[in-house]
Symmetry: C2
């Protein structure tokens, strides 16, 4: 185990723990599917791929066409290490999000209709959107936290169309979307016009500082960052720069598939350094629709077997933060590539 | 508003924000009950009490026997400031905890029967236990995180009897309880014997370092700390000192009623300084049964009206943490009073 850990750490530059190998051995007991292994193990994709390849080299597992299965030696290992099967059973009503959609049923219905015509996710901007129930649950979550009633909401990057769901709820005073993709900007503005929503979108590249007219103007922001360290810093600090003062809130989703717990640690340090406090972290709140370009991702290139995902597997934890007195609005231009680092793999 | 904020900050030594006053004005729109105001506003009790007293002095609210109600001047203020009513509607199935109890129904049934004879909460040790559904949900949560299957679980302070629910589930290899209250130690050991559970309890005072035989021996810990800064440091670092290595997990509940967001910030810094990462924070996961000694608490003494709570109101967010490589096992004796500081009020 120690040998595998070391090899994978060196090869991938992702911090790998015994726990990662154990979690993969756990997942392999109930699934032969690479993407489900990622879902259950919560190991970053590049590390998971290499661990599987090493387990194969050492004779514990076999790659059978599109499946990954234990050898007898692998079965013995699991028994010897007393590794339990995965157990994952969230509330069937809310899928573990904890949110009631009772008051948002009309919003969901309308949203689904609108979203049918949404622009498809494209790789160029690391896009990938969540299920409609998730988008509306975000609005319900912000409502439960009193973060959108009569509030000005800033949405940074909006392939999820959260702005439209928020607008349909009628709760916020104002919703502004900053988005790099012209297709989405036009789509959102057209829908807003057609439905008479207080929503407007404009083109914005996260690598640029937040323009003066959006600086320190909002009560709440929501964003879904790319997960390189540089992207995390930019997406989140742009959001914070948009906030009007202390005790304003921010929301964003962070995966395990593209961010190790070491990266989570880095992110949490960064948040505290900006003097914001984390108030909520809801596991697998965000569930993403399988995007069309998966065949072209690094994830697929490094996967030990090539099979398209059969079900949703890419999820993220929803973070909520609040600004405290003395919080920092960091608003410098980008310094590095925001799309790729050693843990990223869906671009 | 600024004048009230300043007065209350100086009087209570609790950091108070405009947002706190606004949240109280929000809560007052749907309840006249002091404890419900705490529930909805999430303002620490001493600060909330003083804010209410200042709002009263300034003619915005009246104290009518046991109720707190707006004056016309107060109603005008709420209109002028455009303060919305509270909205709080979690999933009705899991009460927002996100947990399924489907596989834990027998455990819950048995647990309820056992807990009928539990020792009552006493003030001396800042006790106060959660609803039986919550105790069992904790076990289900740990199971979902793979933190108790075949694992050694350390429970530090156990007026909630989490050890018994964990034992009844049959999942952990071993459960050890360290508890200051001899009544609870005896109760847990008697139940364990009667039901043949892998659970054992012994007397332990959190102010003392964790004994050698428990140091670095466990996979997971769970505790429900008193919330002075010193208590937070001790309960959590004792738990961490009990963990066997990196990528082990810890669970604990933190309130808003006795901890401002500034204290949450302090706690989060402390966690990161110990090189543990926060993985989950589930809002109001823990709901406490109203304890028998509420009349004798500081909360009741400082409350602007004296009415016993009519429903559960004292809740906490469930934190889950994981240790990373290089994490710190701080295990020094206590340096300060662990039960009281400016934000505490239920002792």
């Amino acid at each position: 185990m120690e040998a595998i850990r070391k090899t994978v750490s060196e090869k991938t530059k992702v911090p790998v723990y015994d726990a990662d190998i154990r979690r993969i051995l756990s997942a392999l007991q109930i699934t032969e599917d690479f993407w489900e292994i990622i879902f259950y193990s919560e190991v970053p994709i590049p590390a998971a791929s290499e661990i599987l390849k090493e387990l194969n080299k050492n004779g514990y597992i076999e790659f059978k066409e599109e499946s990954i299965v234990f050898t007898n030696k692998g079965k013995d290992l699991v028994k010897e290490l007393e590794i339990p099967k995965p157990y994952y059973k969230k509330c069937p009503h809310c899928q573990g999000r904890g949110i009631s959609l009772e008051d948002f049923e009309d919003v969901l219905k309308e949203f689904k209709k609108i979203a049918e015509n949404r622009p498809e996710a494209i790789q160029q901007y690391d896009q990938g959107y969540v299920l409609p129930e998730v988008t509306v649950s975000r609005v319900a979550l912000m409502a439960n936290k009193m973060d959108i009633q009569n509030k000005k909401l800033l949405v940074i990057g909006d392939d999820d169309l959260t702005s439209i769901a928020a607008g349909l709820s009628g709760l916020p005073k104002d919703v502004v979307v900053l988005e790099i993709d012209e297709r989405l900007v036009n789509f959102i503005n057209n829908v807003a016009k057609e439905y008479g929503l207080n929503v407007s979108a404009e083109i914005y590249d996260i690598r640029d500082p937040l323009p003066e007219r959006h600086y320190a103007k909002y009560d709440t922001f929501i964003t879904d960052p790319s997960e390189t360290k540089e992207a995390l810093r930019l997406f989140i600090s742009r959001g914070i720069s948009g906030l009007r003062g202390p005790r304003c809130a921010g929301y964003f989703g962070i995966t395990r598939a593209e961010a190790s717990l070491e990266k989570w640690y880095y992110l949490q340090r960064m948040l505290l350094d900006m003097r914001v406090v984390i108030t909520d972290m809801i596991h697998n709140f965000n569930v993403y629709v399988n995007w069309g370009y998966v065949e072209k991702t690094r994830a697929m290139q490094i996967a030990p077997v090539k099979r398209s995902p059969k079900r949703e597997w890419y999820t993220s934890t929803m973070y909520r933060i609040e600004t405290l007195e003395g919080f920092v609005r960091y608003n410098e231009p980008a310094k590095e590539d925001i799309y790729e680092d050693e843990e990223s793999s869906t671009v």
